[in-house]
């Protein structure tokens, strides 16, 4: 059912728009606290969007039309698979932020394939909201420094710890839009 190849990436124009326009612009207007506030807002929106669906519907895979910043291979997710992807990627991002904040190298390679959903489990929403709470608490206690050490995103540029926290917000926003597209197809 999947379209495209896992990790193949975005269309060139989208990738360049994000790399050359969005990333520099977000560095000007965003701060640690703004990014955290916006993530909390996205999590609240996701919570409202999915609360009326039963477990079976949350696990149902549907093919959506092309969505901004979503690679073709990820267009056939269920809502739970999207949440699982957000949780897996978010867990990795939190580890990267932690390492970079202490000016340490993050030794592992970051790959798109490694953050693909695997289980599509029925209770994924609970795990996702629990993780987001953990992330929120982590950022609240974070010293909010700007690291010199960076780690490259596989599609874009080298991000420092602050860039990764902004990316965490944009990533959650993009996949919230994916969830909205899935819901539209489910109805």
């Amino acid at each position: 059912m999947s379209e495209g190849i896992s990790g193949a990436g975005l269309p060139q124009i989208e990738r360049l728009f994000i790399k050359r326009v969005l990333v520099p612009s977000i560095r000007i207007v965003c701060t640690w606290n703004i990014a955290l506030y916006m993530i909390k807002r996205e999590v609240n929106i996701i919570e409202k969007l999915i609360k009326s669906f039963d477990e079976e519907t949350l696990q149902k895979r549907v093919l959506i039309k092309r969505a901004f910043a979503i690679e073709d291979h990820s267009r056939d997710y269920s809502i739970n698979m999207t949440l699982e992807h957000l949780r897996i990627a978010g867990t990795n991002i939190m580890s990267v932020i932690d390492a970079l904040s202490n000016e340490k190298e993050f030794p592992e390679d970051i790959t798109i394939q490694a953050v693909k959903p695997k289980d599509n489990r029925k209770d994924e929403a609970d795990f996702f909201f629990h993780f987001m709470k953990t992330y929120e608490e982590y950022i609240k206690k974070h010293k909010k420094n700007y690291s010199k050490k960076t780690k490259k995103h596989p599609w874009f540029v080298n991000f420092n710890n602050f860039d990764w926290s902004c990316f965490m917000y944009m990533h959650t926003f993009i996949h919230r839009r994916q969830i909205q597209a899935i819901i539209k197809e489910l109805k």
Partner: protein, 67 residues
């Protein structure tokens, strides 16, 4: 409207919101500056402060085109 277009419009709206936030911050700085030095509180001066604030953000805390 397609999801793709809707996402792009929302991104523009988010940026307008964030730029407005920095405009309010520059208003605060303008108030602070006019209380210290003798300049007028007008839109030109607010826009100068706003421009300076965004210009500083280009280089600090990190040069935005640093990849």
């Amino acid at each position: 409207m397609s999801n793709h277009t809707g996402t792009l419009l929302r991104i523009i709206a988010i940026f307008i919101g964030l730029i407005s936030f920095w405009f309010v911050i520059s208003l605060f700085f303008t108030f602070l500056i006019i209380s210290i030095i003798d300049i007028q509180f007008n839109i030109t001066n607010i826009l100068y402060i706003f421009g300076i604030l965004l210009f500083i953000r280009v280089f600090y805390p990190r040069y935005i085109f640093n990849s």
